[in-house]
């Protein structure tokens, strides 16, 4: 089975827009999924650059899929979906 990769953006924009409040995910995800899902911080994911894209920060990538205005709940939901697809 392939591992799912979660990248939490800690670029300036995402950090300023609150990505440090997603940090709980670094504990939650391994607790819930063991090594099926790995979670890492990331440099700017490149989502925030144009015009008013900062509005939708923080961004998180779950297996390549971009989640905007990310919250802990949204990210967990996206992981849940991917895990379901993988099984």
């Amino acid at each position: 089975m392939e591992t799912i990769e979660v990248r939490i953006c800690s670029g300036t924009t995402c950090f300023v827009m609150g990505s440090s409040f997603l940090n709980e995910l670094y504990d939650l995800i391994p607790q819930k999924y063991g090594d099926k899902v790995i979670v890492k911080p990331s440099l700017c994911l490149g989502q925030c650059s144009s015009d008013d894209k900062h509005s939708k920060a923080p961004y998180v990538k779950v297996d390549g899929e971009v989640i905007s205005s990310a919250t802990i709940e949204k990210v967990l939901l996206a992981i849940e979906k991917k895990v379901g697809e993988n099984e």
Partner: protein, 481 residues
């Protein structure tokens, strides 16, 4: 503490757009279009009743972000006009906070309220307990006559169904000194005679109705005019951004600051003086001494707790010494304090060595607006390497720990902590002052914000993360000698 609510997100979004508008060549026009960009025609209306109301609130926030009071505003004035005026303004307004009426109206004044749980029971304990005859049973349900109700809450405990509740007003509840209250017209009003600028109401309001009057435009203007704008950042700021403080320095210089200095540098001066002062006071038989670096606490002493003055350290704040050092080095500089809280705005107003305050949110917005990626930056060194102790001033325990580190082994202080000013902890301080003794220790560290300045109302990071980032920095720093 900032809680990263949706309203904080919107506040930062607006600040970023304001920076972008300032950097464009049509500041007034682009500022005026921010409400329309954020809530375009036909967009979903996320929070309020209608798009016009949302735009109105955004407009009010922009006005406050440009440094104006929202009280007694001329509603016909356009955003363009405010933008123009903000460019002309020479001096900041006095009181640091202002309330957005349209946002505040959403929340009901504090009162005792009968919920649907009321069974209209025969016992009618509520009616019987009320001493003011404010309760009457009508239509099978208990009713409170607001004109008679004195908010005593007796009926709340009397009802066996817990059907009666007290509706609280979050800002009133949060204010430790009773300075804010919902006025008759349904809008909160701050009594600035009492207000200690602690910022707790800013963080508590779920509608984000209490706004800081920003000096952002004034600072941007100074940078644009090519003045030497020197930033001095509070120790807590080190925990508010990704990357190291050395990368942060490069980022801030890229954003236009002439130089960047750690207020931890001044904290080292404070520590030296304050530990010497502590020894002296103890030798002279003082029962205890309190720290003096928190601006919120200093405002409290001034307005509500003069009796504690004799026990408060006379040593000045880290910011005071830092500003002195900076002005000596750059006499022609415009100095900007990068702050975690509203309270420091008051301290800055009375210090001629400091020109402006920029809070962490605003610095964040500046970096985002100018597209500066901190993690891509090289390190830039600080001319003075601040100590581990100085860099830990923004975390509860840090100030007392620093002072203690310089005391001889046989004369160590016994610290005790007021970790956050609340009605309760203020009573405690009052008691220490009145009794002239403190059973819990002889060095009282007072932090207005829970957790220390990393819990300040204008911070960006989750305080836990801020602490982690600061701890990393401490590991690379050396002890104060």
């Amino acid at each position: 503490m900032n809680n990263n609510s949706q309203s904080i997100h919107i506040k930062r979004d607006i600040l970023i757009r304001l920076v972008q508008a300032f950097d464009s060549n049509e500041f007034e026009k682009n500022t005026a279009s921010i409400p329309f960009q954020m809530r375009p025609k036909d967009c979903e209306v996320p929070y309020r009743c209608c798009i016009y109301k949302e735009r109105e609130i955004i407009k009010d926030r922009i006005i406050a972000d440009m440094g104006f009071s929202l009280e007694n505003l001329d509603e016909s004035e356009k955003l363009e006009d405010f933008a123009l005026q903000s460019l002309d303004r020479k001096e900041a307004e006095e009181n640091p906070l202002t309330i957005i009426e349209a946002a505040c109206k959403g929340c009901v004044p504090s009162r005792v309220y009968v919920t649907d749980l009321c069974q209209g029971c025969v016992a009618r304990s509520c009616e019987k307990t009320c001493k003011f005859g404010a309760i009457e049973i009508a239509g099978g349900k208990s009713n409170i006559d607001a004109s008679k109700c004195k908010n005593c809450g007796m009926c709340i405990s009397a009802c066996p169904y817990n059907a009666i509740v007290r509706l609280i007003v979050p800002c009133e509840q949060a204010c430790p000194v009773g300075a804010i209250s919902k006025g008759d017209n349904g809008t909160a009003v701050i009594d600035f005679e009492k207000c200690i600028s602690c910022g707790k109401c800013v963080a508590a309001c779920p509608f984000g109705a209490v706004n800081e009057k920003s000096q952002l435009i004034d600072i941007l203007k100074a940078i644009k005019m090519g003045k030497k704008v020197v930033a001095m950042f509070a120790p807590a700021i080190a925990g508010q951004f990704p990357g190291t403080i050395f990368q942060l320095k490069s980022a801030m210089i890229k954003a236009g600051f002439y130089d960047v200095v750690e207020v931890a540098q001044g904290a080292d001066v404070t520590t030296r003086k304050e530990s010497a002062e502590f020894l002296e006071r103890m030798e002279n038989g003082a029962p205890f001494m309190t720290t003096s670096c928190c601006a919120g606490y200093n405002n409290l002493i001034e307005k509500h707790l003069p009796e504690i003055k004799q026990y408060v350290s006379d040593t000045k704040t880290p910011l005071f010494y830092t500003a002195e050092i900076v002005k000596e080095k750059y006499p022609d500089a415009i100095t900007v304090f990068i702050s975690p809280c509203v309270a420091k705005r008051k301290e800055v107003q009375v210090n001629d060595n400091i020109d402006y305050v920029m809070n962490a949110d605003e610095l964040g917005a500046l970096l985002v607006g100018r597209k500066i990626e901190i993690l891509d930056m090289e390190d830039t060194k600080y001319q003075y390497e601040s100590s581990k102790q100085g860099r830990n001033y923004g975390v509860t325990g840090g100030v007392a720990g620093a002072v203690n580190s310089l005391l001889p082994d046989d004369k160590k202080a016994k610290p005790c902590y007021i970790d956050g000013l609340t009605k309760e902890s203020i009573r405690q301080l009052k008691k220490y002052a009145k009794d002239g003794t403190c059973p819990d220790g002889n060095l009282i560290e007072v932090m207005c914000c829970e957790g220390g300045c990393i819990g300040g109302n204008s911070t960006i990071s989750n305080p836990k993360i801020a602490k982690k980032i600061i701890n990393n920095l401490l590991e690379q720093s050396s002890d104060l000698k």
